[in-house]
Structures are given as C-alpha cells and as structure tokens.
Symmetry: C2
Amino acid sequence: MSLPKQFLLGRPLRTTQIGETLLPKRIALAVFCSDPLSSVAYATEEILLILALGGTALLHLTWYVAAAIVLLMIVVVASYRQTCHAYPGGGGAYIVGSENLGPNAALTAASALMVDYVLTVAVSVVAGVAAITSAAPALSPHAVGLSVGFVVLLTLMNLRGVRESGRAFAVPTYGFVLGIYVMFAFAAVRMATGATIRAESAHLPIHSSGTFVGLGTVLLAMRAFASGCTALTGVEAISNGVPAFKEPKSRNAATTLAVMCLLSVTMFTGITVLAMVYHVHVATDPRRLGLPPGTSMPTALAQIARATFANWHFLFYYVQAATAGVLILAANTAFNGFPLLASILARDRYLPRQLHNRGDRLVYSNGVILLALAAIGLIVAFKAHVSSIIQLYIIGVFISFTLSQSGMVRHWSKELAATTDRSARLRMRHSQAINAVGACMTGIVLVIVLITKFTHGAYIVIIAMPLIFMAMKGVQGHYDRVAEELRIAPGARPDPPSRIYAIILVSKIHAPTLRAVGYAHAIHAQTVEALTVSVDPAETEELREQWEAHDMGVPLKILDSPYREVTRPVLDYVGSRRTESPRDTVNVIIPEYVPGRWWEQILHNQSALRLKGRLLFTPGVTVTSVPYQLRSARDRERQHARSRM
Amino acid sequence: MSLPKQFLLGRPLRTTQIGETLLPKRIALAVFCSDPLSSVAYATEEILLILALGGTALLHLTWYVAAAIVLLMIVVVASYRQTCHAYPGGGGAYIVGSENLGPNAALTAASALMVDYVLTVAVSVVAGVAAITSAAPALSPHAVGLSVGFVVLLTLMNLRGVRESGRAFAVPTYGFVLGIYVMFAFAAVRMATGATIRAESAHLPIHSSGTFVGLGTVLLAMRAFASGCTALTGVEAISNGVPAFKEPKSRNAATTLAVMCLLSVTMFTGITVLAMVYHVHVATDPRRLGLPPGTSMPTALAQIARATFANWHFLFYYVQAATAGVLILAANTAFNGFPLLASILARDRYLPRQLHNRGDRLVYSNGVILLALAAIGLIVAFKAHVSSIIQLYIIGVFISFTLSQSGMVRHWSKELAATTDRSARLRMRHSQAINAVGACMTGIVLVIVLITKFTHGAYIVIIAMPLIFMAMKGVQGHYDRVAEELRIAPGARPDPPSRIYAIILVSKIHAPTLRAVGYAHAIHAQTVEALTVSVDPAETEELREQWEAHDMGVPLKILDSPYREVTRPVLDYVGSRRTESPRDTVNVIIPEYVPGRWWEQILHNQSALRLKGRLLFTPGVTVTSVPYQLRSARDRERQHARSRM
C-alpha cells in the first residue's frame, strides 16, 4: 500500500482480524440506526409539505397521518425482530427472498435495495446540509458543494473499516437523541409555566394549490402518509447486520431493534406534536406562503428548535449541529449495507467479481466507491433538494419490506412443516402471524406509495429497477456461459503444442532486442525469426545492416507496410504462419522497455500495447513480453519494495 | 480500417501516392493563403476598435496606421520570397532557425508557431461565425456551439488528406476575393454617380474612454498598429509549404506569395478606405456607442457591405457567406501547418513519437486531432469572442517572423562565405539586404506588440511559450537518456539465460489453464510449477484436489494471502525465485480468456492485467499471455478479418 493511501485509510488489516470488528449493542445502535432515527428530522416536515397543498384547513389531518405511521412502524419493527431470530447470519431482503421466494424475487429485492442505499446516502446528506443551512443561511447557495463534500468524507471514513466508523458515529447519534429529548423537556416546562410558543412561520398564510374535498382529501392524506413513511427507512439495517453483533447475535440485534423503535416513535411523535402546537407552516414553493420566490426557509425542525429555545441560542445551534451530524452519518447505514449486498451479489455472479474483494481495511472498497459515485450523481442532478429526492425514496423501501415479510411467512411455513415440537410450533405460528400482518401492511403501503408518488418522480425508480434487474441477470448469464465454455472433461490433461514458432518483433537493435533474442534461443523453439515492419525504407535498411553486423543467429524478416501501419501487417503475417501449421503455437516475443514515470509511459510502447491487445484475439498465438527496466523503473521498484517493509 | 472510419475519411492511401497530392499554384493559393487573405476581414475593425478608445477625434489616425501595415506587409512578403528560394524543402521558422541560429532559437520559433497555429484556428473560426451572426443575428447566442462545430468539420475534412482539402477550399477563397472586389466596384460606381454612403453606425457617438494627448496618442496608435498586424498572420505558410508545390517548387511558391501580397494589400486598403468614408463606428463595449449593454453589433465589414449594396440584399448576403467561408477555411492553413511541424518536431524527438506517424490518408492524424482539441479549448474559454483571442495572437507571429528573418540573414552570410562567383554573390547580398530589413522591421514590431498587448492577454502567450519550450526540451532529454541507456557495444551478441523457471498462474482448472500448462511443457523450461494465491480457503482446497485428479504433471504451489491481495504475494514470490538464481529467467505464464465485447472485458482479467503491469517492473522476469478466445472473441475476429478484405 502506498504511503498516501495508508495515511488516509490506516494500516491494512489481516483477514483473521475480522473478529475484532464485532459490535456491542450500544455501538451497533449508532452504526445501524442513525438512518431510521435521523429520518424523524424530516418525516414530519414531509407530511406538512403535502397537507399544506390543501391550505391551513387540512393541516389537522397531520394527527391521523402521524398515528398511522407510528402504528406501521411498530408492526414493521415487530416483523423484523422475527427476521433477526430466524437469520442469525444476516437476513437482508435479498437473502430472505432468495431462500424463500426464489431467485427472481430475491433479485427484485436486491434491485430495490441497491436503489435505496443510494437514495439513503443522497437524502440523508442533503437533509443534513439543510439543517446546517437553516442555522447558517449564508451557506444556502453552496448546498450542492457541501453535500458532495460530505459524501467524499464518508467514503474516506468507510474505506478505513467498519469498527472505527462505529465509534465515530456513536457521538452524533446519541447527541441527536439527547438534543431532541432536551428540546421536549424544555418545551414541556415552558408550556407548563404558561408560555405560548409559536413558530416563526405561524403568522404566514398558506395558499392552497386547489380545493380538496371528498376523495381529493383522502388522496392528499394518503400522499402525506406516503411521504411520512420516510420515517421507516433503514429499519431493515439491523436484521441485515446481525453477524456484526456480539454474541448472542440474534438476541442482541432484536433488542437493539426494539430500543430503536422506542426512540424513533417517541421522537417522531414529539416533533409532530410540537409542529402542530407551534403552528409550523411550510411549503415547497415560498410564494404559497406569501414570500418572494427563491426565499430559503428553515426546516420545520429548525423552526421548532428556535421557537422552543427562544433566547437559549446555544441550544438551538446544538440541536442543528446534532441533526446535521446524525443525518450525514445516517448515510453510513448505506455505506455499511450497500457494499455487503454488492459483495453477496457478486459472489452469486450477478455483479462483476471486483465487488466481491475486500480491500486493505477489510471493507469492500469497490462497493463503497460505487455507492459514493451514484449518490453524488443524484445530489448534483437534483441540486441537493430534499423533497425532490424523497419522492424516489420510499417506493424501493416498501418493495423490499413487502418481499422480505412475505418471504418470512413462507420461511415459517417451511419450518413448521419440519418441526413437531408443540411449543416450538406455537412460537413459530406466533412469528408467522406477526410477519403476515407486516407483509399485508407493507404491501398496502406499497400500493399507496405507487399511486400517490408515481407522477412525482417515483417513475424514475420504476424505470431504473427493472434495468438494474436485467443488467444483473445479464451479468450472471455471461458468467454462466463463460464457465460453460471453459469447462473441461473430467480427467482431461494438458496437450502441449507440437512445435513453437517464435517471432521476435524488432524495430531497432538495442539492449531490449538482444535480451528478447536471448530469450527466444532459451525456449528451444523449433523455428525462430525476427520480424520488422518497414515504414521508413532508410531506417529499415540500417536495421538490416546492423542485424548482420551483430550476428544475431536469427533471420530477419522484413514486412512492407504501404499504409504505414504496424499492427495490421504483423497480425496478417502471424495469422499466415498459424494457417500453415495449425498444430503449432506461434509465440510472439515483444521486447519492451519499461520506464518508471507515468508521463514516460505515454512516450513509449504505444504501438506495442495496441499490438499485444490485438494479438490476444488471434487463435493459437501466445504473447511474451520481455521487459527491459530503465533506470527510472528500477528506482520506482526499489521504492515500492521499501514501502512494503 | 473500420467501415465508419472509412465512410468519414475515405479509403486509405499508399505512401507512394504522396506525389499525387502536389498542388498547382491556383490551388496552393487557396490552401495556404486563406489565412492571410481572410485576415483583411477583421484587421481594419481591430484598428478601429483601438482608436475608438480615443473617441471620434483619433479615428483619422487610421490612415497612418493602415499605411504602416501595408508597408510592413510588403517588406515581410519580400523577405519570405527569399526564404522560398533558399529552402525548396520547406523553410518554416523552425527549420531556418535550427539551421542558422541553433536548436534553442529553433525551438523558440517552434513554440511560437505551435501557439500561433492554435490561435489561427480559434480566431479564424470565431471571426467566420461573427460574419454569420452579422447576417443572421438570431444565431448570436449560439456562437460558441457553431464555432466548435466548424472546428470539428475542419478536423474531419483534414483527416481525409491534403489534396481534397485544397479543392474544397478553392471555391470560398476565390469567392471571397471576388466578393470584395465586386463590393469595391459597386462603391466606386455609386460614389462616382454622386451617392453619399454612410454606415448604419455612422450616426452613433463614440464616448472616448479617456483623454489621449502627446505620448498617450502615440501609444494608442501603436496599439492600433499592433492589432492591425493581424493582417500579416499566415504569411509564412507558403514558405513552409514549398514542397507541396508543383515543380519548379521555389519559383511557383515565390510567385504565389507575390500574388497573395497584391490581393491582400488591395483588399485591406480598400476596406479601410470604405470604413473611413462610410464613418463606420465600432467599440468593444456597446455602451460606449450609446447602446444598451449586451447589444450585438455587426462586424465592420458587414456594415460596409450592407451600406454599399443598399437594396441589393443578395450581394450583402453573398459577401457575408463568402467571408464566413474563407475565414472558417483559413483555419485550414493551421491544419496543414501544425501537424507537419509537430511531425518534424517528433522526428527530432521534441514531441512524442506518435505525432510522427502519418495516418490512413497520408496526413498526420494525431497532430490534426491535437490542434483541434486545443483550438476548441480556446474558443470555449474565451466564449467565441474575436477581440479577446486576437490579443494573444500577434505576439507569436512576430516572434517567429523575427527569428526566421534573422536566420535568413545568417544563412546568406554562410552562403556568401562559400561562394566566389561574382554575380551569385551579388544576388545573395541583395537577398541578405531584404532579409535584414525584414528582420529589423519585424523585430521592432515585436517590441511594439510586447509593450502594447502585454496586459491585454498577451501575457498568457508569454507564459505558455516557455512552458511548451521546456516540455519539448524535457521530452528530447528523455528520449536521449533512454537511447543512451539502451545502446549496446558494437558486435554485442544475444546472451541467452542459462535456465528458464516457468511459473503458471492458476485460479481455477478450466480450458485456459490446460492450454497454459501445455505451453509451459513445450518451452522446455528447466523448472515448471503452478502458482495460486489462497484468498478463500475452501476454493483453494477444491483447486488442490482437482489439480491432483487431473494429473497435470506440474506441482501446485499455494501462497497464503492474509490481506486478500493477489498481486503482492505473486510479486514477492516471483522476486524470491529470481534472487535464488540470478542467472535464470523467471517466465510467468498467465492463462487469459478473451471475450469479444468491451463490457465483457470489464467482467474479466482485471487482476491479471494489474499483475502483468507490475511484473514488467521486476528484473529478470518475462511474462507470457496464453490467450483462450471465447466464442464472442472469435466472432469479433472473423468480422475484423472480413472488413479487412
């Protein structure tokens, strides 16, 4: 590993060190739950934004929508606790799906998860930056740049490895939870002592974007509900990450999940209550609040915090900082999950093999980088605007929820068929019932999300998912076909070529040429000849004379090249040698001089490189590079060797 | 050559066809002189733009400035005619400089020329687009896009080869000259019959940007003169291109140069006279003409043409079209000159060797593409604004003029020293006097340009030129050091390694592995072994069992890789084999399967590729690729073979 890389990422870890990276519950909560916990920072606002379309009159629906979301969250968490117990090796939607519903359902879930991981990074980081710009409005114009910067920072942290990430993330997660509860206590005390607290936006009118009556109101409420379901994103992270817990893994994971649920539900409820009591008014378009276009509004949570803490500015800034911290680090859930999923998919030959390799620090480096690039693309494309990206978000989450819970129902059926013990069967029936309720509810929500979000951006995901699905199928098909093509009969033995016809490519007579000719002599080929392409007749003549003067012991064959091309005449000649005796191998020997610096490489070997690439396509040909290291290359190699010690 | 390439560029030409591309005078004038001829389209305007800074009062200086430019042009052309005679093989500033003033002066001239060729393309194309937008103001916002489009078009035409370019360019060049003379005739007839013609801008006031008195006026006049010197750009193209003329090359070239001078001087004088008579008012900033900011003004030539032709709109549009045509094609001078210069510099090892190769159509394809990319960069950076780019233009032109003329003075001194014939000596003295006057005058102009243009953008060129100079020196130094390192003693003979230690890299047992083992047997290595890196213990165990089952006849060596890396353990192992017996060659044999489609390549051989790259740095190692073509690769190869016929 090079020194700059080591400085950024830390020393490489041995494979056996993987045991040392297991997580205790309190750290696991911070690593896996920053996503679901932090989503309460924007879930309430997303509900208000949709209901505000109906004007002030419909804001009271917030109570019902929030209640439905709390209920849904409890059901989903209960459902996933079953998964933790059933899959101690990690029960992501892909694994549960592939074991119980077959490969296509699993791959659908995988496509959904991959899209979601990318969106988790994008939404969380952008929402975190919104928390910062709410406290420091001067930074508003730089939202895109800040967001991209934070993604890069997360990428570097994750390339360092999982445990250090966990430690780095414990502080902001717990800091955020603490800040929200302090805010609740503060609000309770102030209101109990008779204060009437109002948000800064309470006096703003809300101009509705139309009249909503009857079915229209129901649809708007459903759309608000679908938006609020962002509070549930990331719940599956714990069941996915069971193997990262300390023993007893399953029980620790299930407990952590319950704690997470308790924290989430209380924070979400509290924030929603305060938003209603303080009359927080928000709208995607500031003009609908009677403000000039382009006005940048603080987030709902920022308005609540500012109103609650009044002159205690320090606490307001603390909540904003903690919110930004936990949101940006929530993206870490995806940085834990995505590379692991990609690695499993690569192992099953759905993705390129490179994604299966762990890097120097025991993380799947390629997956981390891929995720970061995709998230940066989304952030830039949507100009770091939370509400726009959120429209793409929830659909994939509920596809994987539904598939995963349906798979669990099936899982218990299979377990029941194999178990006779009465009390065990009873426990299984109980688990199955919970999963069945979970599957039904998440399925219904999926339909609601599909209906209400489709035209608001979700169609992008509906298009992207099948494309990812088909690409993965295609990759697997390719690997299968190749494996089939390469398969050999049992007991097949190597069949050496009868003769080797060695051809040394020559352009000048210098040290590398001598070395290549020496090598050609040493392999005892039946025929050896040197080959040159005549582009400039004068140079060729000089070469021919020198060749004789140096007594190379090998005949020099000169090819004419009327079109001044080098590659084609060589390919044609090599092909013709091959045709004359198809049982031979033609061994093309290329003398190469190897410079040590990248810019030197540009100045050399360009035609040799192109030629090598093309020769590999010629059947019955092997290509040998005989390198000659220039001084700069030897210096580079010595430096490498030293840094390796 | 692939079919799409052939469609765009035409059939490849044989090297011997180069004689067929020699140019008669009338075509050569169009090919080499579109640049100097077309620059009269903007030279007058550039003078007026500078003098306008002093308000209407200083516009009368135009007469003196224009007269000085005409005088200078005659001197420079006379000077270059001597070069045509002295250097029938092509007398560019680089060649004249290197033969008479030494390599550093020559390289300075070459740096200046390279910068100028790029600027010729940028200025000409952008000015051509300005002629178009003067006739069709609706296109003004698309100036950058149009300019880039034309550069791409020129690039494609030039990749087709030089003669066809000449033909394509004869029509617009002669069309432009004709159009300007018709305009003069029209103006003369109308004024003779008593008409008073005024430009559309004649009534606009010119607000001066300050008061210019005494030295201030002189400096402004000098700056205007420096700007007007753009009329001289491109004069050296003919002396550069003497070998492209039909026999007698030198005389034909000198005659063409004289004709060009006659056309240029008359057109420049005529346009300047009409601009003065019609009271054409221009300014870089429309506000100085009392117009709202952002107003886009027609060019001076467009104003003259519109006023002259009055209701004969057809003729106005004809002149604009011809101007645009000749200007855009003027860039062709650079497309002829730059690749040739780059090729000569590459031959002298100042530039990478790739620039010395002629392409399929006998043009130096890489040089053409390099020039186009640089020009597009400039056009985009300066937003297709003629007056801004012109500030960078003239300085390089006069550096090469001065060096070239000084070199010629030296040339004649050397000739004189070797000649005793009286009449020949008289002719040489005469030539030398002409060149001396040329060198002095261009040297003085260079100083004027340096003083007046430095802060207006010329400093960019002053910075760029030494950088290019040093880069070229560096490239040559590198090639020299490498040649020195690779040089062998006279009579040195190949020295075959005493033993070959063959190592076959293995990851799985499949057809490519069998083929590689077969090859290893055939080369009669003293030691053969197979090597695998254990990343996953289960897979390694499976490989070991299969290896024994298939009775490969070669021992399998298994390397542990605690850090899951493949490259480093192999490098270390290979290095250790090498150390044990330094007189051996270690031959690393890599089985590779070759897929035919680009996306398949991403899915395979990534670690083999990285490994091959690194092995080349290990001394005493040769690397053999034993390819196994998959079906898709064999299909691809068959298609290639078919398209070759």
